[in-house]
């Protein structure tokens, strides 16, 4: 068939870009805070050296904790004192300000080691005791990492849940370039939208980005050849591999929890079906057999089950399947459209796109109890992706006529937006824990 040769000879206007910082960063706009947020005073970190510190450590930590929706950092201009060490702490001052926690710290730059040393301590104001403290160090480039690390430590000390501030997100940007051709970029950034860089730039669509469980690779669908194909991409080196380019659809990659396989949607046997591709051997195992659409698979944390979208009932609904007996069981029943499920990391819930009254929103279902909750309230919400601690969820939505990313807590109580300066942003994916 002539198709094949066309497939191969389509020349690609594609540029691979080594990771670098780009100017177009995402911003943060908090749109809804939780009422129950814990009051915390984060005192500006004192600088013990002559060199100015290139990052505002206090601000990074305060913004991390505020974004989580679980903390309410006190404005610095309301503070009665600015202690830098334990002996300067007067609990009475902070009780007066109705603060539950107090974080203080200092930074020291060593000319000799060319490194920063950050010391921090967290105090419980009511119990009048030190909760956690540590000294961490790193160079210029790792200052933001150190700040996120402190946010993680504070978050875990107070909530008992591992923090996800040191994670990353990936997303796709889309805009018209100077010559009128569309430009798609696959971007990776810190979870707060900063330090973004471009992994791939092409004039054809990119979508369905998925992080490998070790956080080192991305799998995605790219139309750069003129047809959809699935690639894997090592973030640190930029090395890519074409892993699936069958006739028809090659889509919806999802890494198995052991990182050795991808669940994929292929239509090489006639229509959209779900397969497992073992990456080392290229062995394909077919999981679904139905004339309807089966797609958008997500693995359970133990790797024994898949949840996926199927319209075998006449409209798209979410199904669960044990990969060994392959007999799908329908999970969603409310509404005409429930699709693209993602398992939570504890395997107890799924998060998916739900249509009600014409609007598409992100919803969650507790698989055991059957209780459902709609988390978002705009009209075109899609592509939910959970933070690895299951506390927040990033998704794509529209604001005005532009695609923007938004984050909502899994209880729906706090929200923030991550708009870009220009162009559309879409297809977010939250990385696993990176360390």
């Amino acid at each position: 068939m002539q198709n094949r040769s066309v497939y191969i000879t389509v020349l690609l206007s594609i540029i691979l870009i080594a990771p670098r910082i780009s100017i177009a960063e995402l911003m943060i706009e908090i749109t809804q805070g939780a009422d129950s947020a814990i009051p915390i005073a984060i005192v500006p970190f004192s600088n013990k050296s002559a060199k100015p510190i290139p990052e505002d450590i206090r601000k990074i930590i305060a913004e991390d904790l505020q974004r989580s929706g679980e903390f309410d950092p006190l404005a610095t201009n309301r503070m009665l004192s600015l202690p830098a060490s334990a002996k300067e702490v007067y609990y009475r001052d902070w009780r007066l300000l109705k603060q539950n926690y107090l974080l203080i710290g200092s930074i020291e730059y060593s000319d000799y080691s060319k490194a920063y040393k950050i010391q921090y301590q967290l105090f419980d104001v009511n119990q009048q005791k030190r909760v956690v403290g540590e000294v961490v160090s790193g160079d210029d480039k790792s200052l933001r990492d150190l700040a996120h690390h402190i946010s993680d430590a504070i978050y875990e000390a107070v909530t008992g849940i591992r923090g996800a501030f040191s994670t990353r997100i990936s997303y796709i940007t889309h805009q018209s370039s100077v010559n009128g051709k569309p430009e798609y970029r696959l971007q990776v950034a810190d979870a707060d939208g900063r330090r973004s860089f471009t992994l791939l730039k092409t004039s054809e669509p990119i979508l369905s980005t998925a992080w490998s469980p070790d956080g080192k690779k991305l799998a995605y669908v790219s139309f750069e050849s003129g047809r959809p194909a699935v690639y894997t991409h090592i973030i640190a080196t930029g090395k890519r591999q074409l892993v699936s380019a069958h006739k028809g659809l090659n889509g919806a990659p999802a890494w198995s929890p052991d990182g050795k396989s991808l669940a994929l949607t292929l239509s090489k046997d006639g229509n959209a079906e779900i397969y497992r591709l073992e990456l080392a051997t290229k062995k394909l195992t077919r999981y679904t057999r139905h004339y309807s659409i089966d797609t958008e698979a997500s693995w359970s944390p133990d790797g024994n089950q898949l949840v996926f979208t199927s319209d075998r009932s006449g409209s798209p609904q979410v199904y669960r399947m044990n990969i060994y007996d392959q007999s799908p069981e329908r999970l969603t029943f409310k509404g005409r459209y429930n699709a693209r499920p993602r398992f939570s990391d504890d395997g107890k819930s799924i998060f998916y796109v739900h249509q009600s009254q014409g609007a598409f929103n992100i919803a969650t279902l507790n698989i055991d109890t059957g209780s459902e909750l709609i988390l978002t309230d705009t009209s075109l919400d899609e592509s939910p992706s959970l933070a690895p601690n299951d506390r927040m969820l990033i998704y794509a939505t529209q604001r005005g006529r532009k695609g923007v990313l938004a984050v909502v807590s899994v209880d729906g109580r706090s929200k923030y937006l991550l708009p870009a300066e220009f162009g559309d942003v879409r297809e977010p994916a939250w990385s696993p824990f990176l360390k």
């Binding site: 047809r227 659409i293 797609t295 796109v353 075109l380």
Partner: protein
């Protein structure tokens, strides 16, 4: 809507020429054999019919053949016009070919089965609502519906390739019902 008006004009030509043939009982038309236009049509849609030739009246058989030839040519023209319709629209979350798409698709099928060396790509699309991968599969299913229609009507499977872009390449970039209607489509691209 240019295609539709041209189509109507041709239908007029066809019926007018047949009528003219009956009335004069002696129509000759060099155009019928030269392959040029059957009958010139003026801008107002009026019809000019050439005067009876010197060859005198034709036999019934000759007339029937001539009429059949004219009809064949008119049909060919009509199909060529119909083939200018290359985008076919679908309902939300549906992939059934709409009744109003059938005539133009039949014209494409007739042309492709008569020209087995010509290949087409059927590009399936969806609107932006719903999820991206489901929409990719839906776009493919729409394109496959059109493929099936063509194959059932005599086109070889090897002439047709299906590709889905899902919601990635909208024809209209707005977010209204009418934008979405324009985006739920299959486009036939001749290679």
């Amino acid at each position: 809507m240019k295609a539709i008006s041209t189509k109507h004009a041709l239908a007029l030509v066809l019926s007018a020429s047949v009528l003219a043939g009956c009335a004069s009982n002696s129509t000759t038309d060099d155009a019928a054999t030269s392959g040029a236009d059957v009958t010139p049509v003026d801008q107002s849609g009026g019809v000019e019919v050439s005067a009876p030739g010197e060859g005198g009246s034709l036999t019934t058989e000759e007339m029937a053949a001539q009429q059949a030839e004219m009809e064949r040519q008119a049909k060919e023209k009509e199909e060529a016009v119909l083939r200018e319709i290359r985008t076919f629209y679908f309902d939300f979350d549906k992939s059934a070919v709409r009744p109003e798409s059938r005539a133009a698709l039949m014209a494409h099928a007739a042309f492709l089965s008569a020209n087995p060396n010509v290949n087409v790509v059927l590009e399936g699309h969806s609107d932006e609502r719903g999820t991206k991968e489901y929409n990719l599969a839906l776009g493919e299913r729409r394109a496959q519906s059109v493929e099936r229609f063509l194959v059932v009507n005599g086109v070889a499977r090897t002439q047709v390739e299906v590709v889905s872009y899902g919601e990635e390449k909208p024809a209209a970039t707005g977010h209204s019902e009418s934008d979405w209607a324009k985006n739920r489509r299959v486009y036939i691209e001749y290679k």
